[in-house]
Structure formats: structure tokens, C-alpha cells
């Protein structure tokens, strides 16, 4: 039969009893074999957990984390740093396109010509062929201090 004070034994195991409550339970334990066994079982099973092994980290773990972090930061940095360049290029393209339109009044659709000139000036195919055009070099000391976020 289960002792009604069993749960108190469990609370004792996690330090959830006041000193007075613990003293009262300890007096009870002297006369209650079921609670004593429960207490001992909780203690021994807790000790058995010490048998769980530990694993060692791979020797290159830190390097791998750093490589992933640098790669991620590099990607974000490129996107953020590309934005001002794109903005300036687009503005320049617009100015040139408007000038071209004024020198060719016979163009039937000036808006279309602006778009075509933008494509040429941004040179998208060249960027696709050579993505290194967008890559930032790390700082002089080799660090990536400004990741742009």
C-alpha cells in the first residue's frame, strides 16, 4: 500500500520542503519502510545518471562554427553593401537615359528606351558571370568587423 506521504518524499528530493517540514518527514521515515525505500530509490536512480558518458567535441568544431559565421556574415554584408552601389548606378543610369532620350527625339517609346539603357548600364549579365564583382574584401587586418547588420 502506498503511503499518503509519498509525495512529500519526492518534494524532499528536490529540496522543496522547509526545514520544519523536512524534519517532520524524517521522523516519519523512521517508522515507514515504504517511504524509506522510495527515498532510497530516488537517490540511487539519480546517482545512476552519473553513468551516462560524455562526448568530446570534434577538434575542428570552433573552426567550423567560425567558417559558417563568416560565410553567413559575408553574404549579408554583400547584400547590404551592394544596396548603395545599386542606388548610385540606377540614378546614374536614369540621368544618362534621359539625356539619350533628348538626343533621339524620334524614339517612339521613351519609357522603353530608359528601361533598355538601364539594363545596359547595370550590366547584369556581367555581374552574373563574375559574382566576385560584388564581394567585399575583408578589412586590412583580415577581420570582418563590419558585417553590415
Amino acid at each position: 500500500m502506498t503511503c499518503p506521504r509519498r509525495e512529500e518524499v519526492e518534494r524532499l528530493a528536490v529540496g522543496d520542503l522547509t526545514p520544519a517540514e523536512a524534519a517532520g518527514l524524517n521522523r516519519h521515515l523512521e517508522g515507514c519502510a515504504a517511504c524509506r525505500e522510495h527515498k532510497e530509490g530516488l537517490r540511487l536512480s539519480w546517482e545512476l545518471l552519473d553513468a551516462a558518458p560524455r562526448i568530446a567535441a570534434p577538434a575542428d568544431f570552433t573552426e567550423r562554427v567560425l567558417a559558417r559565421a563568416r560565410a553567413e556574415a559575408g553574404t549579408r554584408g554583400r547584400i547590404v553593401r551592394l544596396a548603395p552601389w545599386l542606388g548610385a548606378a540606377a540614378a546614374a543610369a536614369l540621368v544618362v537615359a534621359i539625356a539619350l532620350t533628348r538626343h533621339h527625339p524620334q524614339t517612339a517609346d521613351p519609357d522603353r528606351e530608359v528601361v533598355e539603357n538601364l539594363g545596359l548600364l547595370l550590366n547584369q549579365p556581367a555581374l552574373e558571370r563574375d559574382p566576385l564583382l560584388l564581394v567585399d574584401a575583408p578589412g586590412a587586418n583580415g577581420s570582418h568587423e563590419d558585417y553590415g547588420y
Partner: protein
Amino acid sequence: MERPDPDAELMLRFQQGDESAYATLVGRFTEPILNLAWKFLGSRTEAEDLAQEVFLRVFRARKSYTVQAKFSTWLYRVTANACLNRIKSKTNERVRSLHSTGEDGRELGRSVQDPEAEEPGLGLEREELHREVRRAVEELPANQRLALIMNKYDGLAYEQIAESMGLTVMAVKSLLMRARVKLKETLARHLRGHVS
């Protein structure tokens, strides 16, 4: 003003751009985080992946990091979130899989035994005990398992566990109490002779 703990100081140095401070932090905490993840997930491969994810989160958070608690408590909070999210997504995955195949499910969130984790050269009895202990821990519900690992293996105080898991100290004690009762039942076979 009280100075922050040495780990928090490293994080602040990293915030100023010192990458070596970040590397030091990773090196210092790899083993505890990796072992916590391994005990929680039961797979070495998954544990390494999760540990990497934790340190990447630290990396991403460097700009917003402020010293509010011990660095280790903050790191354990990041780890606890990552662990519980991992279990959640595994559970969702399994539910999706059940919907598509209709097969019977094992206990949610429990992982397959990791063959790499077995230690060669151990006596059979000891090896079996290792396996049983790991199984007993893995069978605990996620919250109980996490609280238990942090307390038993990482030596975290109840207050730290509570902060890491976003719980009250009372809730942590309750989780640990239920975990210990369940462990006693699961490991009963190994307790024979000591208790009835």
C-alpha cells in the same frame, strides 16, 4: 558598478569586433552545450548541428547583446530554445509523416540510438547501463528532460534553469520532481537489491 562576468566581457569584446573573443567563447562552451544537446536529442550528429546553431545565434545576437544576467545563463536560454524548437519541428515532421503514411508512431521527439555514441571497449554490463541511462533520460518529456540535464549534468541552480527555460523556480522543481519519479520507475531493474 559591478563588473560583468568574464564570459560577458568576452561577448562585449566580440561586440566591439574582436573575433578572437567569440572563438574563445565557442571553445569554452562547446563541450557543455554539445553534451547537453546530445543527452537531449540522443544523436551525436544532431547534437553537433544544434550546438553549431546555438553558437551562430550567439554570433547573430552580438549587436543586440546586453549584459543582464550571467553570460552562461543567457547561453543556456539560447540553447533551451534551440532544443525545444528542434523537438517541436521533429514532432511536426512526425505528424506530417503519420498523415502521409498512416504508420504507427513511436513516442514523439524520441530519437534513434546513435551508433557513434557507443563506447568501444566497455564491459557489456557497463555498456548496457550507459544505454539504459540514456534511454531513461530520452524517454522523459522534453521539458523534464531539459531541466534534468541542466541540473544534473551542467550543475545549474534552479534559478538559472528557471531563467533559461522561462519558468518559475517552483515549476522547475515540479519538473524535476516528476522527472525523478519517472527515472526511478524506468531504472527500477538496476535498483533491485537496493530497493524493492
